[in-house]
C-alpha cells in the first residue's frame, strides 16, 4: 500500500490549495467529532488539486490508514459540498519515504440507522409479578392499613422513606400482593428501573446453581445491580448459612447504594429460626409492618371487590355468610367465593345457606378447627362477664354465673361444630339437654332484650375477629 511516489518532491503549498483545504475543513468539521478532527485532520495539508483528484500530505501511514478506513465518506461529502463533484483522494507522506495510494471511490460505510425505537415491550412486565396484584386491587382495612401505607410510600419514593421494608403476617393476608404491587408501581413509573422479585427459595436455588457452575460473579451482578429488590418469604433463608451470607452482602451493597429492599415473611424477623443476628437486626432496621387477619367488614369488602372484578352477582346473605365463616385467610375467602360463584352459575339454582354450607364444608371444617374453640369462647365470655374461667365448668349456679355459662354454651353451639354432648362435656360434664335448654333460653332472652342481644353479638364479633 505504501507505494513510493517520486513525483511529489516538488510539491508547493500554494495559496489556492490552502484556501480550498480551509473550505473542505469547514465542511468536514461538523461531520466528525472535534477530537477526531483535531487528531486526524489538523496536520493534514492539501498539496495538489486536480480536475479529478486531490492529494493530501499526512504525517505518516497511520493517518492514511485511519482516514481511508473511517473518514472517507465524510471527506467525500465535504468534497461534494465544496467542489460540487467527487474527487479521488491520494495521500502522500512529507518525509523521504513518500507514499501514495488511491482511495477507492468511497463505498459508503454508513447506512441509515434505525429511527428512534418505540418501546418494544408494551405488555411486558417484571418476571414473576402477577399483573393483577396492584395497589388498586388491594382492600385496605384496619388490619393492614400500616403495611399498605408503608408499601405505597416505598413505591412512590423507593429507598427514601423506609428501607428495608419488612412485611410480615400469616398466610394469605396479602404479603405477596403488597410486594408485587410495589414492584409493579415502581416499574410502571420508570421502565428502566431494575426490579427483581424473587422468592427466597429461588434466590437460594440460583445461588446454589451459581456455586455449582462457578459463575458467582454473574449471580452477584444480577442482584447487586437491582434498583428494587423484593424477596418473598424470607423466612426460608433460616438455616441456610451461605445463602444468608450472600444475601447479607447483597443487602449491604444495595442498602449502601440507596436501593430499596422489601422483604416479606410469615413471622417477625426475630422469630425466624436460625437466622443470623446481623440479618435480623438489619431486617428490623427500616420499617416493620404487620398484616393481621382482616376483620369482618374488611372481609366483606374484599368479597365484594373480588365479586365485582370477577363480575359475579351473589346475594348479600352469601357474602355475609362467607365473611363471617371464613376468618383467617383471604386466599381461602376468595377460593370459597369462587367455588360458590361457579356453582351458582353452573347449576343455575338459587343459593341457600344450606347449599353454601354443603359446598364449602371442607373449608368451613378447616376454619372451625383453626379458629374458635369452646375454650376460647369460655375464656372470652368469662372475661366479659367478669367471672372466673373455672366457673364455666363448676357446679355452682347462681344467676351471675349460670347466665354467662349459658351464653357460652349458646355461642359454642353457634360458632363451633361441636355436638350438644361435646359442649356439655366441655362445660363440666353437663347433659346435652342442659345445653339445649341454655341455647333456647339465650335465644329467647336475645329476642326479648336488646342489651343482651348487643352483649352477645359483641362477644360473637370479638371472637370472630
Amino acid at each position: 500500500m505504501w507505494r513510493f511516489c517520486n513525483t511529489v518532491n516538488n510539491f508547493r503549498m500554494d495559496k489556492k490549495c490552502t484556501q480550498l483545504w480551509q473550505r473542505l475543513s469547514a465542511a468536514l468539521r461538523p461531520q466528525i467529532s472535534t477530537d477526531s478532527f483535531k487528531r486526524w485532520f489538523s496536520t493534514v495539508e492539501l498539496v495538489e488539486a486536480k480536475e479529478k483528484s486531490l492529494t493530501l500530505t499526512v504525517p505518516n501511514n497511520i493517518y492514511q490508514l485511519w482516514i481511508e478506513s473511517n473518514y472517507m465518506p465524510a471527506l467525500q461529502n465535504a468534497i461534494i459540498a465544496t467542489l460540487g463533484s467527487p474527487r479521488s483522494v491520494k495521500f502522500c507522506s512529507p518525509s523521504a519515504a513518500r507514499a501514495q495510494t488511491f482511495a477507492e471511490d468511497s463505498a459508503s460505510v454508513t447506512e441509515p440507522l434505525p429511527s428512534p425505537q418505540v418501546d418494544a415491550r408494551p405488555g411486558a412486565t417484571v418476571p414473576g409479578l402477577n399483573p393483577r396484584n396492584t395497589f388498586e386491587s388491594f382492600v385496605v382495612g384496619p388490619n393492614n392499613e400500616i403495611a399498605h401505607a408503608a408499601s405505597l410510600a416505598v413505591a412512590q419514593a423507593p429507598a427514601r422513606t423506609y428501607n428495608p421494608l419488612f412485611i410480615y403476617g400469616g398466610v394469605g393476608l396479602g404479603k405477596t400482593h403488597l410486594m408485587q404491587a410495589i414492584g409493579q408501581f415502581v416499574w410502571a413509573k420508570k421502565k428502566n428501573m431494575k426490579v427483581i422479585y424473587v422468592s427466597s427459595e429461588l434466590f437460594i436455588n440460583e445461588f446454589i446453581d451459581a456455586i455449582q457452575h462457578s459463575n458467582l460473579v454473574k449471580f452477584r451482578k444480577r442482584y447487586r445491580q437491582a434498583d428494587l429488590l423484593l424477596i418473598d418469604d424470607i423466612q426460608f433463608l433460616g438455616g441456610k448459612e451461605r445463602s444468608q451470607e450472600e444475601f447479607f452482602h447483597t443487602f449491604n451493597t444495595l442498602f449502601d447504594g440507596h436501593k430499596q429492599i422489601v422483604l416479606s415473611s410469615d413471622r417477625p424477623a426475630s422469630e425466624i429460626a436460625n437466622l443470623e443476628h446481623r440479618l435480623v437486626s438489619r431486617f428490623e432496621w427500616g420499617l416493620t409492618a404487620e398484616l393481621q387477619p382482616p376483620d369482618i367488614e374488611t372481609r366483606l369488602a374484599i368479597l365484594r371487590k373480588k365479586a365485582n372484578t370477577m363480575q359475579i352477582k351473589l346475594h348479600e346473605d352469601v357474602f355475609q355468610f362467607l365473611a363471617s365463616r371464613i376468618r383467617t385467610n383471604v386466599r381461602r375467602l376468595e377460593g370459597a367465593l369462587m367455588r360458590v360463584a361457579s356453582f351458582a352459575s353452573l347449576s343455575g339454582r338459587e343459593l341457600t345457606k344450606e347449599t353454601v354450607e354443603h359446598l364449602l364444608k371442607d373449608i368451613l371444617q378447616e376454619e372451625g378447627r383453626q379458629s374458635i374453640t369452646i375454650e376460647q369462647i369460655q375464656r372470652r365470655v368469662a372475661e366479659h362477664f367478669d367471672v372466673r374461667l373455672a366457673d364455666m365448668t363448676s357446679k355452682r349456679r347462681p344467676a351471675s354465673i349460670a347466665f354467662p355459662r349459658q351464653v357460652a354454651m349458646y355461642l359454642a353451639r353457634e360458632l363451633t361444630k361441636a355436638s350438644l354432648n361435646e359442649i356439655g362435656d366441655a362445660f363440666g360434664g353437663r347433659d346435652h339437654g342442659t345445653v339445649l335448654h341454655a341455647c333456647k333460653l339465650v335465644k329467647k332472652r336475645m329476642s326479648e332484650q336488646d342489651n343482651i342481644r348487643q352483649t352477645i353479638s359483641y362477644i360473637d364479633s370479638s371472637l370472630q375477629r
Binding site: 500500500m1 505504501w2 466528525i32 467529532s33 477530537d35 477526531s36 487528531r39 505518516n60 501511514n61 497511520i62 493517518y63 490508514l65 485511519w66 481511508e68 478506513s69 473511517n70 465518506p73 465524510a74 460505510v109 454508513t110 447506512e111 441509515p112 440507522l113 434505525p114 429511527s115 428512534p116 425505537q117 418494544a120 415491550r121 428502566n192 431494575k194 460473579v217 454473574k218 451482578k221 445491580q225 437491582a226 434498583d227
Partner: protein
Amino acid sequence: MKFSVTKEKLLEALQQVQNVVSTRTTLPILSNVLLQANETELYLTTTDLDVGVRGTCEAHVDKAGATTLPARRVFNIIRELPSSEIQIDVDGKNAASIRSGQSFFKILGLPEDEFPPLPKFEGAKVVTMRQKDLRDGLRKTSYAISTDETRYVLNGVLFSFKDNKLTLVATDGRRLAMAEIELEFPRSHESDLIVPTKAVTELQRLLIDDGDVKVSMSNGQIAFDLNKTLLVSKLIEGNYPNYRQVIPGEAKERVKLEREMFLNSLRRVSLLASDKSHSVKLNFSKNNLDITANTPEVGEAKESLAVPYKGREFSIAFNPEFLMAPLRALAEDEVFLDLIDEMSPGVLKIQTPFLYVLMPMRISS
C-alpha cells in the same frame, strides 16, 4: 532409516506440523514432511517458505536417517491405522514401508536434500517469556488483524519490544487491539517486528499453559522455540502504522459491563442487524443500556441491560461483529467501555494492560 513409534505420538506430532503444508503449491517438496531420525527421536518438519514448524516425537530408532514423505497422505494413513504400534522403514530410494498390525503401505517420497532448510538463528537476539502470556496476548489481539491483502503490513501482529514490555498490536483500520506483556530484556533487544497471520495462527495452536517460549529475532526472521516444537517465520517488512495515534484521549464516560451478558445481548440483537446496515446502537441512559438493531422491512430488536452509568444520555452505533470479537476473546468477567461522544471511537479495557479501539458507525437519523 528405520524406526518404530506409537500411533498416538506420531499422530500428535503430525497434527502439530501439518497445518503449515499448503495444498496448492508450485514446489512439490513443500507438500512433504521432512522426517529425520537420530538415536532416540524423530523430527518432523514442514514449511511453506514463509512459516516452518518442527515437531519432535519419541521413537525407537533402529537406523538413523532422513527422508520426506507427502504430509497429508501420511497423516491420513497414520490416522486410520488399526494398531498402536507402527514400523516405518525407508529404503535408499525414499520409498517408505509403513507396517502396523495387518496393514502395510508403501509410500514414495522425495530425497531429504531437496527440502528447504529452516533458517539458522545464530547470534540472534533472544527473549524468553511464558507461553501462557504470549498465547493470551495473541488471543486478545489476533482477531483484529486485517485481511485486506493490499495493506500487507497489517496482515500480522506487531511485536513491539520496548521499555521492558512486549506490546502486541493488530488493526485493520477500523479497530485496533493492543495487549502488553511485562518482560525483561536488554535495551539492545528493543525492536518492532510484524509477525504474519499464518504464523500467529499456528503459534496460537502450539502454545500451551505451562512452560516458556524462547523468541529469537534475527534479520527478517523470527523463531519461537517451545521446547519440543519450533516455529520459524519470515517477518513482514515495512513500518507498522503508529498505533498510538489511534488511541483516543481522555474518556468522558466509562461504563462497566458484564462481559458475558453484554456479549450475549449483542449476539441476540445483532440477529436483526442486516448485512447492509450492519450496526447495533447502544443507547445509554441513567443506569441503563439499551441495545437496539433495526433493519427496514425486516424488523427490529432491543435489549436492556442494567449498567452503572451516571453520564449524559447518548447513543452510539458500532459494527456488532467488531464489538463482539474482543468480548469473545477475553476471559475477564468485567470490561470497561470508555466513550467520548457518538462520533469518537470507543475504547474497551480490562484491568490488565489491554485496550481495543473501535470506530463508531455514523448514526444518520
